[in-house]
C-alpha cells in the first residue's frame, strides 16, 4: 500500500511523490505548493484529531485527512 500524507505522525517528514486525480482539490493542493519533491513536515493534529497542520515551503498549512490522503509521499528521516 502506498504511503500518504495522512499516515505521517506529528514531527515526521515526507517527500511528495504524486498528488491524486485532477480536479479542484488537487489544483488547490498544487497551488498551495504541494508539488512532487516538496518536503512536508507534519506539525500537529487538531485537538479533535482532524484536520492536520503541516509545514512546507516555510509556511503553515492546514488540511483535512481526507485531502491529505490524496498526497502520496515517501517518508524521510530527520
Amino acid at each position: 500500500m502506498q504511503l500518504t500524507l495522512k499516515d505521517l505522525l506529528p514531527g515526521e517528514k515526507g517527500r511528495v511523490i504524486s498528488i491524486g486525480s485532477a480536479g479542484p482539490v488537487r489544483r488547490r493542493l498544487v497551488d498551495m505548493g504541494i508539488t512532487p519533491g516538496t518536503v512536508i513536515l507534519l506539525r500537529k493534529l487538531a485537538p479533535l484529531g482532524d484536520p492536520m497542520e503541516v509545514n512546507l515551503r516555510g509556511y503553515e498549512l492546514s488540511l483535512r485527512k481526507n485531502e491529505a490522503e490524496q498526497v502520496i509521499i515517501e517518508k524521510i528521516e530527520g
Binding site: R27, V30, M32, G33, T35, A46, G58, Y59, L61
Partner: protein, 699 residues
Amino acid sequence: MSLRIALAGNPNSGKTTLFNILTGSRAHVGNWPGVTVDRREGTYKSKKGEANIIDLPGIYSLSPYTPEEVVARNYIIDEKPDMVINIVDATNLERNLYLTTQLLELDCPLIVALNMTDLLEKEKNSIDASLLEKRLGVPVFSISALRGTGVKEMMEGIMKLAGQNRQGNTVLKDGPLADAFLAALKIVEEKKLSNPVFHAVKLLENDSLTLEAAGLTEESHEVATVQKLVAKANELGDGEAAVADERYKSIAKKFVPALKKSSQAGLNTSDKVDKVLTNRILGLPIFLGLMWLVFHLTFGEFLFGIEPIPTPGTLLVMGIEWLFDWVNEGALWLMDVMGAAEGSLTYGLIIDGVFAGVGAVLGFLPLVVILFFFLSLLEETGYMARVAFIMDRMLRRFGLSGKAFVPMLMGFGCSVPAIMGVRTLENDRDRKLTMMLIPWMSCGAKFPIYGVFAAALFEENADLMTFGLYLIGIVTAVLAGVILKKTVFKGDAAPFIMEMPAYHRPRAKGLFLQVWDKAKGYLVRAGTVILASTIVIWFLANFSFSLRMVEANSAESILGVLGNGIRFFFIPLGFASGPDGWKAVVAILTGLVAKEMVVSTMGVLYNPGIQGDALEDEGAQAALIASISASFTPVAALAFMAFNLLSVPCMAAVGALRSEMRSRKWFWFTILLWIAAAWIVSFAINIIGTGLNSIFHWF
C-alpha cells in the same frame, strides 16, 4: 481621469492593511457582479495626484475554480487597470511569488510590493530586492503596510510608471514546458485573444474559461497537440499540475536565492504562541474560554458579574439609550409645539412609527460594534484561522466550517450581529448555511416568552422547560444542517486547505476601520429594512381596513384581521383554536417584528383593561400569567414557544439577512425555511404531546 490601481495578493499578505493605508476611511464596499464577493474601492490622494484603488479578493492562484479567483482575473483582463500592485508577504516569499508568476503573464503594468520586510528583518533575514527586481522584470518596492513605511515612495514610483504598456511574460518559457507554451501561444495568437501569454499558459492548464474564450474544447485537435507536448516535458502528465510544478521549480531556482537567511533559526514567537493555543490538550479549553469571554463582554450585563461595573456591551447600550432618550425628548417637545396629542395620527406616526424604528435600528448598533471589534481582533491576530482548525471536525458533519462556531455562538446573544458576523467565513455556501441556522440559537429576546409561560404552566419544571427549548433549537439546526448539506447544498463542499497565518499584533487603526466599515454597512443596508418594516407594522397594528385609527393590535386592526384570517395555518399547531386563539396568532405576527413584542402584545390582548407593559410591569405580567394558564394547555404552550423560537426572529435579523445574503432567491428561501421549520416542529410537538398525554394523562 484618475489612475485606476488594483491590489492583488494572497490572503493574509497585508493587502487589506495596505488598502486601508492608501484610502484611509474613504472606501466603500460593494459587490462584484453576479457573485457574493466584496468589492472594495477607495481613493488615494497625494500632492502628486489621485488614484482609484480597487482591492481585488485575496487569492492564491488564478484558477477558474473559485469566484474570488475568477473575479480577480476578469477584472485585470476586462477592465485593464493602469497598474496592478502585487503585495507579497516577504516572510512567505516562495508561496506568495506563485501568484506573482501568474500575474506576470498578464499584459498589465505590474509592480511588486514586498510587504512585512520589518518582520523579516526581525527574524534576521533579508531579501535582495534589486536581484528580485532584475529576475522578475518588474519594479520591486520594500514596504511595511503595518508601519506605513515605504508606501509613499512606492506610490510616487507608481505615479511615474502607470499608464505604460507592459507585455506579459512567463517563467515557463525557460523551462521544459517551453515547447508546449510556444505551440499554445501560436494557437492563442491565431484566435486573436488579448493577453496572449496568459491565455497560452492557461491553455496548457486546460483552463475552462480560456478554452471557452478561444472557442475550443478539451477534445479539440489543437489542444490535444499541446497536451501531448506537456505530457512529454513533465512527469505529472496533465497540464494543470505540470504548470504548477514548473512554476514552483522556477521560483526555487530564480527567485528564492534573493532571500538571505542568517541562520536556521529555531521556533519564532508565532510558533511558540501557537504551540500553546492549538495544543492537543489545552487548545479546546483555551478556545472555549476565549469564546466565553467574547460572549460575556458583548452580551453580559456586569463585568465578570461585579456590580455595578458594566461590560463594554452594556456601556455602549447605555450610551445609545441616553442619546436616543435625548433625541426622543426633542421629538416629544416638537409634538407639543405642533399640538399633536398622544393618540393622534401625527404623534403615532412620528413617535410610535419612525422613532420606534430608529430606536430599533440604533438599539442593535452597540452589539454590532462590539462583536465586530472582537471578530476583527480574532481575525487580525490570526486566531480565527485556529478557530477553524480546532472546530472543523465537530462542525463539518453539519455541513458547516469550523469558523461558523463564532457567529453561531453569538446567535445565543442576538441574531443580528451574529448574521452580520458570517462575513468572516470565506466560503459562500458556508455563509448561507450558517445564516439559515443562526436564529435557532435561542437569542436573549426570546427569554421573556419562556419566562411567562414557565410561570404560568411549568412552575415546577421551569429550568427543564427552558433547557428543552434551547435544545429544540440546537437539534433543529443540526438536523436542518445535515438535510440541507445533502440536498440544497449538495456537492459544493469546499475543500479545507487553508493557510495558517503567523500571529500578528493587532493595530488599533486597522481594527477601528473594520468596525467603522461594518457599523456603516449595518446602518445603511440593514437599517433601512428595519426602519421601513417598523413603520409598516405600526400602520398595520393601529389602523383598520377602513383606514380608521383603532386600539393597537385589537381585533379590528389590520393586524388583528390578518391574525384571524391566517388562523387556519396555526390550528394544527394546537394553540390557535378557541375564542382566544387569534390573540396567540397576532402575538406571533408582532413577534416577527421583535420577539420582545410577543409578551407585550399578549398582555394587551388578553387583559385589555390592565395598564402597563407585561414585559416590565409586574401587575400586568401576573395578569397575563393567569390568562395564559387559563387558555393554553402545556402542549399548546410548548408548540407556541417553539414556533416563536424557530420562525422569523425579528425584522432586524431580516434586515441583516437581506444585506448579507445579497440574493433575492436565497433571502426568500431562508425566510420560508424558518417558517416551515417552525411549523413542522410545532406540529410535531402538538401531535406527539397530545398523543402521549392521552396515554399517560400527565397534565
